[in-house]
Subunit: 301 residues, 2 copies
């Protein structure tokens, strides 16, 4: 087939398709797969620290929640997925890996109706993870507020991590055009929701704020972890509360959280510096708390 | 690979992937294709009458519009696509065919950013088309009004025929649960938009009405054709105008239009019969006008 070569092949990559390990150039899926035809799939992205898949159970639980919200019948178990993740990672054989778990509603006739007796396709892409630029963490990043409105709960549940990602792709393309790190998406009410692949947080008058699930966000696992960590530190005041773009721009600090990138300080939004325009103290403190948690978790295993 | 067999193989099917003809079981695409990862693709569905692709140019124009709205760079031309469609249809060798043209943003690193230098993947699925049940046209069908709200123009342009189809999949699954033919989707304002793969029309007091593009609909080619045909018949009064679910239920007639299904009368919505509960006279007249147009077009080629 005249398929073009996969770029970015400097990173070691292994794919596991329904239990079979293959190289990127051989990793193919049927064009009748509903993930390809309709974006009818759910997925997770996670990473390893010291070779250990971090919070894998939390990611599997979220994958199952996504599937359930799409009424996707599952013909694989969490144990199956976990075993296939470990198989791919063993084959990859690196300490720091990115891995993506994709579960589709399977193959069938070309119909919106998934029908009966569908068998999921399970794809795991495991890739060597190279460190992100240290400047992100030392200087903070520049984000823009996009006019691409976060898809509403009434249309496609934004708390499902699905193969329908054009909403985020279009928002991210706007960031790229404006030479920014990412876009912040608002909902139809004008409230801040999230970045294209991250949750967003602000600090104002020493209170740490992040939008509630009801704003129409994906419930990030790093977000959830930070909320839990903050509970056990009496000096931290954290709220899940709606805020506007204006409040975002006028915040003292701002940061993004994601599984891969952990905690990324935001020091500029559109043309405005955030706070002092440098990385804020609470952002640093939270990242330190998170890193300690990662260390404890990985060493405790 | 342990991929399950493709069901519904009673219908003869041919796939063309980037110019290479293959059988359904061999028709595979890279898992790094953005169509698979993000639903980052555009598509068209069309049919042949007497072996001739019907309104192919209109479908290609719409495909190009969809790509443009997603800012998708195209590395193939309309002539390329047209030639590959004809190659697939020649290989299929049937008089009445369904064909689906899928154009993806290509393969690349796993990033929301499509990046530069991407080469599209072009997939054509050509399949023998068997006639739909005559009861649809003789007795009309039952549709439901779904609570899945049509994705808004601010989130993902609903006038793009893209690989992000979960909004429609979820709406269609509700119809299936309620043993209905299809679901009618409303927008966030409560106006009627469309069926999951069709445009919707009502007749009230001899005026034929269909929602305007601004309601957040895909601009159907059958819809466009009917609007043009009606212009040359002074006895027909047609309006593109918003209407509510209540107006839909209280209509004298209702019907759906789509490339594959042409004009399907709706005789029941939720638990209410529409008009007399039988196929209405203007629905019949419009289908007859459309059939004459098909005949003229095919014979004129």
């Amino acid at each position: 087939m005249q398929t073009p070569p996969i770029p970015e092949n400097s990173k070691k990559t292994i794919i596991n398709i329904n239990g079979e390990i293959c190289k990127p150039e051989d990793a193919k899926i049927s064009v009748f797969d509903r993930g390809f035809l309709f974006g009818d799939s759910v997925y997770e992205v996670a990473k390893t620290y010291q070779g250990i898949p971090f919070l894998l159970q939390e990611h599997l639980d979220r994958l199952w929640k996504s599937a359930s919200r799409l009424e996707m019948l599952l013909t694989v178990s969490q144990n199956d997925v976990s075993a296939e993740v470990n198989k791919a990672l063993a084959e990859l054989g690196v300490e720091e890996a990115y891995f993506r778990i994709i579960l589709t509603r399977g193959e069938g006739p070309i119909s919106l109706d998934p029908g009966e007796g569908v068998k999921n396709n399970l794809i795991i892409i495991a890739q060597e993870h190279l460190p992100f630029p240290s400047s992100w963490y030392e200087n903070g990043v520049h984000v823009v507020i996009t006019n691409v409105v976060r898809v509403s709960k009434e249309s496609v549940d934004p708390n499902v991590k699905s193969g329908n990602y054009l909403n985020n792709v279009m928002a991210f393309m706007q960031a790229k055009r404006e030479k920014a790190f990412d876009s912040i998406m608002l909902n139809h009410k004008g409230h801040v929701t999230q970045g294209t692949t991250s949750n967003v947080w602000i600090v104002k008058d020493n209170t740490i704020k992040t939008p509630p699930l009801q704003a129409g966000i994906l419930e990030g696992i790093t977000r959830k972890t930070l909320l839990q960590l903050a509970k056990s530190d009496d000096s931290l005041k954290i709220e899940q509360v709606n805020f506007t773009a204006e409040e975002l721009i006028n915040a003292d600090e701002c940061f993004l959280t994601s599984t891969m990138k952990e905690i990324v300080p935001v020091t500029q939004i559109d043309n405005s510096p955030i706070g002092t325009g440098t990385v804020g103290p609470l952002t640093v403190k939270l990242h330190s708390l998170y890193s300690d948690f990662v260390k404890r978790t990985v060493e405790g295993l």
